[in-house]
Structures are given as C-alpha cells and as structure tokens.
C-alpha cells in the first residue's frame, strides 16, 4: 500500500492535499482496497458546504456502501465529475485521478489535527489487529 508523505489522513480513511487556498480530498489506497471494485460514487455539488467529520458523499463497491467524511470545513469549489461514469478510477489511482472534491477551507488549522503518513500507517495496523 502506498501513502504519500505530502498528504494528511483521517481515521475514516480519507486523504487531503493542500493546493493553494484549497484542499483536495479523496480516499486512501487502504480504503479502496478494502472496499473492492468501486461501482458508484455520490458526491456533493459545487457550492455545497462541508463540515469536518461529517458525511459529504457515498462510495459503493459491488458489495458495500461506505460514507465519505470530510477532513475539513469549507465550501466545495470543484467536483471530480468524471468519477460518476468511471468510479473504478478510485481503485486505479486513488491519490491523483481518483480525487473527489476540492474544498475552499475556512481555517487551515483544522489540518493540524489530521494524521501524517506514519501516524496513519500505525493506525491502520492497529485497526487490523
């Protein structure tokens, strides 16, 4: 499994990457692998508010439904629309082509409470034990 160092992670297995005044959000390699083949994704619309820790969408694999939780609070400014026709992109490339939303963040300090790569890897390991 791959967990890039430039990302921050949540215990619900989302990642985020700072890009100017925005944060790009997706799900981790571990999340896509546990879900299996992803066949459907439901994302918010541009302009929708999201709140840290609250659900902003849903991802479904052939067997399971899983909610997506926002790592930050803010306003959705871009949505990865091609995912609705090609949700398998999330399996294939979770950190680049498989991004989900971009959020204009109110307070970047929120990111300080998220996990870095080492802490996330440790968390996954503990979770599987």
């Amino acid at each position: 499994m791959n967990y890039p160092d430039d990302l921050k992670y949540t215990k619900e297995h989302e990642w985020c990457r700072v890009k100017g005044n925005r944060v790009v959000v997706g799900i981790t390699d571990h999340a896509q692998d546990s879900l299996g083949d992803i066949v459907y994704v439901e994302l918010p619309e541009v302009g929708d508010p999201v709140k840290k820790g609250e659900a902003f969408g849903v991802v479904e694999s052939t067997k399971a439904v899983s909610e997506l939780f926002s790592p930050v609070t803010g306003k959705v400014v871009e949505v990865n629309d091609p995912l609705s026709d090609a949700p398998e992109t999330i399996n294939e490339d979770p950190y680049e082509e498989g991004w989900m939303i971009q959020v204009e963040v109110a307070d970047f300090k929120e990111l300080d409470t998220l996990l870095d790569t080492a802490a996330y890897q440790k968390f996954i390991q503990e979770e599987s034990e």
Partner: protein, 363 residues
C-alpha cells in the same frame, strides 16, 4: 462458532478475502468481484459451495415422503434428473428453496441453503412420513464449475461423457480420480457443473480443476461474484428475497408449485392465496436514476412506502443498477414505475422482464 469448509485453508493460502456468511467463513473474492464475474460469463469460474447442505431421503417411502414436503412434482423427475422447488410450511411460508437430485425413488439428495442446514434437516426429519432422513452436510464437499468453458475443462478430467449429461441431469463418475456426483446445475445462468464429493477429497478436486482450467482463464471465485451472477438471472436468494413469512407465489416461484400434483405441505394455504389473489409480488426492476438500491430500501409510490427491495446491485454485465422488490400487484406489471428510497433520496425505478441478463447465443 464460525464454520469452515474443507477448502478453507486453500482459500486463505491463495490470499482470498474472507468474510462471514450465514455462519461460515467464506471467500468473498480472490482478485476482485468484477473480474470473477466476467470470467464466469466469458470463460469459467470455480466456486467453493461446500457450505451448502445435503439432506438425503432413503427407503421405500423416500419419494412419497419428499413429494409431500416439496412444491414441485418429483413424479415428473426421472432418476438421474434434478428438480428445483420449495419446502413450505402449512401456512405456505417458505422453509427453504432447494434442488432435489433423484438418484432413484428410494434415494433422493436434497441440496439446501447453508443458512438453513439445521432448520431444513429438523423440518424434513420431523415430517418424514416414514422415510429415512439423514443430514449428510458435513460429509460432502461441493464445487461449482461455471461458465461457457466449463464443459471442455471438466471433460479433460473425467471419462464421463459430459455431452450426454443434459441441463439439470446428473451422473456418478470420477473427476481427477475423485468419486463425484456430477450435476449439470448451477446458480449463475451459465452452462456448468456442480460436483458433490467426499469432504476430504475437496482440496484435491479443487487443485485439479484450477490446474486443468488455467489455459482457459479459469478463475477461483468468491461469494461476491456468485451473488452478482445470480442476481443478473433474478435467481432468488433465501434469507434475502424470501423467508418463512413469504410464499413461493409471492416470490414469483409459482412455476415450481404444482398445485395439481396431490397433497403436499402448504398446498391448501397456497391454493387459498391463489384464489384470493396476492397482496404483493416480487418483481425485477432497474433504476432509471443514479444510485444502487440495496436489501431493505423502501419502495415508494407518491412518496409513501408500499414495498421493499430485497436484493440490489450494479449489474457488472449490463452496467445497470438492478434489483428485486416486493411491490403491490398494481405495480408489478412490466413497465410500471415507482421510486426507491436510497438513504433519503427517491430514485426512479422501472419494472422490467427477468432475467435481467440474457446470454448471447453463440454465432
């Protein structure tokens, strides 16, 4: 205590992802559900279905006994032939849906659902009317080899002339040196076989089949693909699409209920229900708006709940969101529309003819 099939170690060693299903630790997938699904539709797949149970009726009263517990008509089933049907309670509620393999009038094997092994045995044994009823579930292993390449793969391992074993027929034979009941049955909508063998022989049989099928792209498959394959055919799943409170008429299994065959358990209730008319019917539907419906979602008409989704998935072969649901008869006709409540959002749905997936005929 979670149970294990004789192939449990084989699955774990092969890196399958294991989940609990009906009290069994089973592989849900090997490489991925979509790839396994496609393998069965296009080439071949091998499933461990040893969790299914086997209850055997023997003795001079075997046929007569089972006839009185089974909705289909075993007098029209020849020796060496299999028949699908339901076991019903007096109320008409379904104890289980099963396949009966008639070896002779004095020896019939009933293949039952994993979740119902004990319940079915207790039910059948308790109403046996003089037949000798044995629960042989632990003694048997069961493998399902399914897909268009299944016959040629299996033929390499057996002297049984498979071309003479028709659909829903079976014979005794050896496969890769393992004594089997070789049946042309399955739960995928594809050509294929189910092999019943001694539990201890199952790992050897599995390994031989995987090896023999390698050049054909045979894949080991898990329960995930088994579920999406059966749902594309609108094959019912006990516990999901039907249970003790639903009747075979409601579940759309009227074609295996032979009300004219003579007395059988549940017949009076089913006759009465047929005369009075059904209050709900199981139908196949597709979503015409985005989303995937799942077991338990409400069926809505004018915003009010009028039914329930019992199975739903995204069909890998069709790329559509498909499902089965109980709806009032007024909504059961092909082309009827209703909505499905997907986590608070109403998604439009349309009743369609089943099976959802129709096999392409070979050119």
């Amino acid at each position: 205590m979670v149970q294990r099939t004789p192939l449990h170690d084989v699955h774990v060693r092969a890196g399958a992802r294991m989940v609990e299903f009906a009290g069994w630790d089973m592989p849900v997938q090997y490489e991925g559900i979509l790839a396994e699904h496609a393998a069965v539709r296009e080439r071949a797949g091998l499933f461990d279905v040893s969790h299914m149970g086997e209850v055997v009726f023997r003795g001079p009263k075997a046929l007569e006994s089972l006839q009185r517990l089974f909705t289909n008509d075993l007098s029209r089933c020849q020796d060496g032939q299999a028949q699908y049907g339901a076991l019903c309670r007096e109320s008409g509620g379904i104890v289980d849906d099963v396949v009966v393999y008639r070896r002779s009038a004095e020896d019939l094997l009933v293949c039952v659902n994993a979740s119902n092994r004990q319940k079915d045995y207790d039910w059948l044994h308790g109403h046996a009317f003089g037949a000798e009823v044995t629960n042989e579930s632990d003694a048997w292993g069961q493998l399902a080899l399914q897909g268009p390449r299944a016959p040629e793969i299996l033929q390499r391992l057996t002297s049984v002339r498979l071309s003479s074993v028709g659909t829903y027929r079976f014979t005794d034979g050896e496969v890769a040196g393992v004594r089997c009941l070789v049946a042309r049955t399955g739960y995928t909508g594809e050509d294929g076989f189910e092999l019943f063998c001694a539990a201890a022989d199952a790992p050897r049989l599995w390994a031989s089949l995987i090896e023999a099928g390698r050049p054909d792209g045979l894949r080991p498959c898990g329960l995930g693909a088994r579920d999406s394959l059966r749902l594309e055919m609108a094959y019912r799943l006990y516990g999901s699409d039907m249970d003790d409170a639903t009747t075979p008429l409601e579940a759309g299994l009227g074609w295996v209920v032979k009300l004219d065959k003579g007395a059988f358990m549940g017949r009076d209730a089913l006759l009465k229900q047929k005369e009075a008319g059904l209050s709900r019917k199981l139908v196949g539907f597709v979503l015409t708006e985005p989303g995937i419906s799942r077991h338990g979602h409400a069926v809505l008409q004018d915003g009010k709940p009028v039914g329930t989704v019992t199975s739903g998935t995204r069909s890998p072969s069709l790329g559509l969101s498909i499902g089965l649901a109980y709806v009032p008869p007024a909504l059961a006709a092909e082309g009827s529309t209703f909505a499905v409540d997907i986590r608070g959002r109403a998604a439009a749905a349309k009743v369609v003819k089943t099976p959802f997936y129709a096999k392409k005929t070979r050119a």
